[in-house]
């Protein structure tokens, strides 16, 4: 036993994955099982009453999934994590852990189109209303908060606008109103930014992106800091007896673990959006190389942003941080279509954060549920083209862009 505080790259490889205690296996085993045998009837009762740690059924927890959860919690400097079947599942589990019918959320309008539709359509149908406001307009964000608001939500780097959220200012705003600041950190990854260090209370990821890193696996995760005072009177789902769990009061029984325990033992259990063990294993493998991949992603993205800024065909380039950004072609929508159809190496698809370089036209795909006005308000004009810069030789990527711009 030691007290060394290991660095990020070390934790990306080791956190959550000591050798398998059953076999000594150095690679993390894939525990491909639905359920786990109880040691005794007393042991079973302890587990079902949430008095003991251990696995019951893989919808609630699984050793391979738990290894991934602990690793991402370590990298985000969180208290713990709950993995879900996708980023949107992690977002829904967060909402349902905090809010119920009659409650209200405040969300940045500079976010992923799927987040906007989840909150403004599906979550709204559950009786939870969301007000959207510009992430860079603190006064509008403040004005949107109501007595029944349960969270303030933003993306570190907005998808796809690249808008950077002022995390400390938004955290302070949320905390002044007794609500948690929830941050989607998918585009930055904990390698570039750890929102909890800047005041965030809950961090969400679509692990499908840079965490997995190879475009193989759909997954999501929520991480919590353990610092938010859930017993402040504003979160009865956590601080009043739970009919879903033997009338347990989560804040009383679990203290700083209250949110994480409810998110897993009640919400994930009942929603059923768990991550599969095989998928957790792929995401663990991805995390091992996060540091080295992100270095190259960012270096290549900066080179490509420079290249595009120097091109006469390009109207604007909205690169801020990270490896996903948009640019506009002067020839507009039609020119954008010609550009994408002429690409050879870049893959035209609806994903980001792959080793392969990816391209898409948001107006006709990811943001097609939004009106032109909604797109502009989300910071994505209809002519915008989104790039996710991969790990190929940057000269090859530029060769392909050059050809397509001339097409």
């Amino acid at each position: 036993m030691h007290d060394r505080a290991f660095g990020f790259a070390t934790r990306a490889i080791h956190a959550g994955t000591p050798p398998d205690p059953a076999t000594g296996s150095r690679a993390t085993p894939i525990y491909q099982t639905a359920a786990f045998v109880f040691g005794s009837t007393e042991h079973a009762a302890e587990l079902f009453q949430l008095r003991s740690y251990g696995h019951i059924y893989s919808r609630i927890s699984n050793p391979t999934v738990a290894a991934f959860e602990e690793r991402i919690a370590s990298l985000e400097d969180g208290l713990g994590a709950v993995a879900c079947s996708s980023g949107l599942a992690a977002q829904l589990c967060t909402v349902l852990s905090l809010a119920q019918s009659g409650d209200h959320l405040v969300c940045s309008q500079n976010v992923y189109g799927g987040t906007i539709t989840q909150l403004s359509v599906t979550v709204k149908r559950m009786g939870i209303e969301t007000t959207f406001a510009r992430v860079d307009d603190l006064a509008a964000m403040r004005a949107a908060i109501r007595p029944n608001t349960k969270m303030l939500f933003a993306e570190t780097i907005g998808n796809p606008s690249g808008t950077i959220a002022d995390l400390p200012a938004l955290a302070t705003l949320a905390h002044e109103h007794g609500i948690p600041f929830v941050v989607d950190n998918t585009f930055a990854t904990p390698y570039l930014c750890r929102p909890i260090e800047h005041g965030a209370d809950i961090v969400l990821h679509s692990a499908t992106k840079f965490i997995g890193g190879h475009g193989t696996t759909i997954g999501g995760v929520l991480v919590e800091s353990g610092r938010f005072p859930w017993g402040n009177g504003r979160f009865p789902l956590l601080s009043e007896p739970s009919p879903g769990y033997h009338q347990k009061v989560f804040t009383e029984t679990f203290g700083e673990y209250a949110f994480l325990m409810r998110a897993r033992a009640e919400v994930l259990r009942d929603v059923g959006a768990q991550l599969a063990p095989m998928d957790a294993w792929l995401l663990l493998l991805g995390l091992e190389t996060l540091s080295v991949r992100m270095e190259t992603h960012v270096r290549n993205a900066e080179a490509i942003a420079r290249f595009l800024r120097g091109r006469p065909e390009v109207a604007w380039v909205a690169h801020t941080q990270g490896a996903v950004f948009t640019f506009g072609i002067k020839s507009g929508r039609e020119g954008g279509r010609r550009f994408i159809d002429a690409l050879e190496l870049w893959s035209h698809l609806a994903n980001v954060g792959d080793a392969k370089s990816l391209v898409i036209h948001p107006a006709s795909t990811t943001h097609s549920q939004l009106s032109d006005e909604e797109m502009r308000s989300a910071g994505v004009p209809p002519e915008a083209i989104r790039l996710s810069v991969g790990l190929e030789d940057v000269d090859d990527l530029i060769w392909d862009l050059d050809r397509a711009l001339r097409a």
């Binding site: 036993m1 007290d3 070390t10 000591p18 007393e42 042991h43 008095r51 740690y53 738990a66 709950v82």
Partner: protein
């Protein structure tokens, strides 16, 4: 000594065998019952309730005071405190008088006088931590729930269940 580091907590838990739990409740909804039941069923510790209002919990006899416990069993290795912060100093005095080797103040049981008294009397003192969480940290329990144990090791049996 005030126990501050992870390795010091691990060493304290490893060398201890008996835990006298002041304020243990028989009510299954109370946190102290959760911790009592966990220590009793999932760990090697001999855990005993110290509570004048009850006879026993789950078949384990309760003692009204730490002194009454120590008369029969000798000084406890750890006195685990589930009391209001305002009562913590009195518990510390009792623990010192009974010869306890360590005193463990659970989440929120923070009282400067209690800490100082126990520290000056030579007890190991843990403050604002949960003994269940810390045992689970070192034996793989936290890890099963996706909680950040903070432990990194490539040794065989890094986490002994």
């Amino acid at each position: 000594m005030i126990v501050k580091t992870t390795s010091e907590r691990a060493a304290l838990l490893a060398r201890s065998r008996s835990v006298a739990m002041v304020g243990a409740s028989a009510n299954a909804l109370r946190p102290s019952y959760t911790v009592f039941s966990y220590l009793r069923t999932q760990t090697p510790y001999a855990v005993t309730p110290i509570n004048p209002t009850i006879e026993q919990i789950d078949g384990v006899r309760a003692y009204p005071t730490i002194a009454a416990y120590a008369d029969e069993h000798g000084p406890p290795d750890i006195v685990d405190v589930f009391r209001k912060p305002s009562e913590a100093a009195d518990v510390a005095r009792e623990a010192i008088a009974a010869g306890a080797k360590a005193i463990w103040f659970q989440y929120g049981v923070i009282n400067d006088e209690a800490i100082r008294l126990a520290d000056e009397a030579g007890l190991d003192v843990v403050v604002d931590r949960c003994i269940k969480v810390e045992y689970a940290r070192f034996h793989g329990g936290l890890a099963t729930s996706g909680l950040n144990s903070g432990l990194i090791s490539s040794r065989y049996n890094a986490r002994t269940p």
